[in-house]
């Protein structure tokens, strides 16, 4: 998995709350195989009209939105469906960090598994950052995962993140490698658990 340490890039403001994963990746694109091309359908129905023309009002279609590597959104970004393809869409488009006052739990978990940083800011700080970006769309936002800081011009904030998710992103850890180092613990647990909770195994009547 790609590591995340520090990123300095333009940021696209999406000052809307409740941008659910159906908006990030409409369900009809869930059938797409993973080939690094999910970015084409990112925010599809918000970004394009029925004839697939860009909607000029959508922030990602503005000059500085197009090359953004950071999105600053309203509260509850990524709520709803567990579709990991929503993260693929952001990542394939080039987004490496989303900043918001809150995230859907499953979305944030999926993001961690794919090298996408979800940084939580307080409502007031998030609004200040959004305002700064509306005023100066060319501003460079610097996100540093080590001190958990976000800087944009005069603005300087600390963001909140789980220590475990932070370590994963900083190190680019692969869960499978970590888990495999605990094979014996897993096997011991299973053995003891089968005696402790015999009912936990599906009961298969003799066929």
């Amino acid at each position: 998995m790609e590591k995340f340490t520090r990123l300095a890039a333009t940021a696209c403001p999406l000052p809307t709350e409740n941008i659910d994963t159906d908006q990030i990746l409409p369900a009809r694109y869930l059938k797409l195989p993973r080939k690094g091309e999910h970015g084409k359908v990112l925010f599809h129905d918000l970004r394009f009209d029925a004839e697939r023309n860009e909607r000029p009002g959508f922030p990602l279609n503005r000059p500085h939105g197009r090359a953004a590597k950071i999105i600053v959104a309203g509260r509850n970004f990524g709520g709803g469906s567990s579709r990991e393809a929503a993260v693929y869409a952001l990542f394939d488009y080039g987004i490496r960090c989303v900043i918001a006052p809150s995230f859907g739990d499953i979305f944030a978990q999926n993001a961690t598994k794919n090298g996408l940083l979800t940084a939580v800011l307080g409502e007031a700080e998030n609004s200040a950052l959004l305002l700064a970006l509306e005023r100066e769309p060319a501003s460079i936002v610097t996100v540093d995962l080590v001190p958990q800081s976000i800087a944009c011009g005069e603005l300087q904030f600390q963001f909140v993140m789980d220590a475990s998710r932070r370590d994963r992103l900083l190190n680019g850890w692969d869960d499978f490698d970590v888990t495999n180092s605990f094979r014996k613990e897993i096997s011991d647990f299973k053995g003891a658990d089968r005696k402790r909770r015999p009912w936990a195994v599906p009961h298969r009547r003799d066929i």
Partner: protein
């Protein structure tokens, strides 16, 4: 003396293999996969892995399956490939599959409990956010993404940070005609779509214990719409009665032993919760959504919000956007909202009790709009037909179809056309959820039936009094 524990604390402790770096490695008891889980199987193949515990893994075809023409080949080649890929993956890995033409087929969150696969005390995961449904049995059940599905397939474990504990206490009796769906929407309207973010929700109180298993499933299903990691109800006599005799559930002495263990799972008196929310169930009116998030829910006798009265410019902007998308007028009575169609289905509200509730209201009436009824499982369909419910829906002019996720997410082709408005028993009223440009109003099955009869959103309570 040991300190009192919550239901969730107990479930967590029973599944914790080890702790590392602020996270726990948890043992998974049941893993449900569906045809949308193909990203995870691709990861498995790429890593050359095998499914670690095929006996604890079950496959169901539900998300993309057609709801008409069962027994015939699937017309859409992409969907046909997804369903056959699931069959192949399940076959290769020794996973039991409830495939398209299996009599046990249905929506995974209906099938799991129905077959006795989902039980109290289990940790249950599935690559679908509505896995919270199974918490109704007193299980720790939650949705996961494709990478985590792959991890469970290969290791039967998951790394998780322990969520905080939230208790939602609903006391008092729901008014006649009101259901778990009204309660769920009232709760989400109160706490917000991210109100339970980072929390495991336990639902308790007299209004919860009075619910049937079906009602508890509806409620826990919607826990995710309040942002909860999971929702759960402590197992009790209602739970144990429900489990008895189900295909994969323990039987005889094994069941009695299990019930003894399960009966001790409930939260201990004085167990600490990080957050508590109280709901007066007696004060709840039938709830419907007007906007584009499940938190945009109001009592049926209320009015569409007026952005001019919003607390902040951001809020006003959100309301304007939602009202514009939904094609409504600020301040209009919700009962003035005319609909184009109805949908009765989904893992939220397509169990037998839901179909009965809708049929009671519809009986002897004709729907003013077209509509689709998709039972939650093939077993629910058979039972509904035995009870003659299909005849009620057909006589009302609604289409009676097969089981699947259908018009809740629209990926099988069952969609609400652009710009049309649907009264729906589903769980999400997001923009475009039921089709591009579709407008969704969420409500209970009885309220959908009332809307069908009236051609507009209607108060089930006034409908009932009209009959008297």
């Amino acid at each position: 003396m040991t300190s009192p524990l919550t239901l969730f604390d107990k479930l967590w402790a029973q599944h914790e293999i080890l702790q590392r770096d602020g996270e726990s490695l948890l043992w998974v008891d049941r893993h449900y996969v569906h045809e949308g889980s193909f990203h995870a199987f691709s990861q498995l193949a790429r890593r050359g892995g095998r499914v670690a515990e095929p006996e604890l893994t079950f496959g169901v075809a539900d998300h993309y399956v057609p709801t008409r023409g069962r027994g015939q080949p699937i017309a859409n080649p992409e969907i046909a490939r997804m369903v056959s890929d699931l069959e192949k993956n399940a076959g290769d890995q020794g996973i039991e599959l409830f495939g398209l033409n299996d009599p046990r087929q249905g929506i995974v969150h209906v099938v799991g409990p129905e077959l006795g696969l989902s039980l109290p005390g289990l940790l249950i995961v599935c690559g679908d956010s509505h896995t919270s449904t199974h918490g109704a049995l007193g299980a720790f059940a939650f949705g996961i993404g494709a990478s985590e599905v792959a991890h469970v397939l290969m290791t039967q474990t998951l790394w998780q940070k322990k969520p905080k504990r939230m208790r939602i206490v609903a006391d008092g009796r729901l008014a006649e005609g009101l259901t778990a769906k009204d309660l769920a929407l009232a709760i989400i309207a109160k706490v917000g779509a991210d109100g339970a973010s980072g929390h495991a929700i336990e639902f308790s109180g007299s209004a919860i214990t009075a619910l049937s298993m079906e009602g508890r499933m509806t409620l826990c299903n919607m826990a995710i719409e309040a942002g909860g990691r999971c929702g759960m109800v402590a197992p009790d006599a209602t739970t144990f009665d429900y489990i008895r005799g189900r295909t994969f559930a323990p039987a005889k002495e094994a069941l009695e032993q299990a019930i003894e263990d399960w009966a001790g799972l409930g939260s201990d008196p004085g167990a600490p919760f990080d957050r508590e929310v109280l709901i007066d169930a007696t004060a709840i009116a039938p709830f419907v959504t007007w906007g584009i998030s499940p938190e945009d829910a109001l009592p049926i006798d209320d009015h569409v919000p007026d952005p001019a009265r919003a607390q902040s410019p951001e809020r006003a902007k959100y309301l304007l956007g939602a009202i514009d998308y939904m094609g409504l007028e600020p301040g209009m009575p919700i009962t003035d909202i005319a609909i184009d169609r109805v949908f009765i289905g989904s893992c939220t509200n397509a169990r037998i009790e839901d179909l009965r509730a809708a049929a009671i209201v519809l009986a002897g009436h004709v729907s003013k709009v077209p509509g689709l009824v998709s039972p939650g499982s093939s077993a629910v369909k058979r039972q509904a037909e035995e009870e003659g419910l299909d005849q009620v829906f057909r006589a009302a002019g609604l289409e009676w179809a097969d089981s699947g996720c259908s018009m809740c997410v629209g990926i099988n082709g069952d969609q609400v056309p652009q710009g049309q408005r649907c009264a729906s028993t589903t769980n999400r009223n997001f923009r475009g959820r039921q089709g591009v440009g579709a407008r969704t109003h969420l409500m209970s099955p009885a309220m959908v039936a009332a809307a069908a009869i009236n051609g507009r959103l209607a108060d089930i309570r006034s409908l009932k009094s009209d009959k008297n």
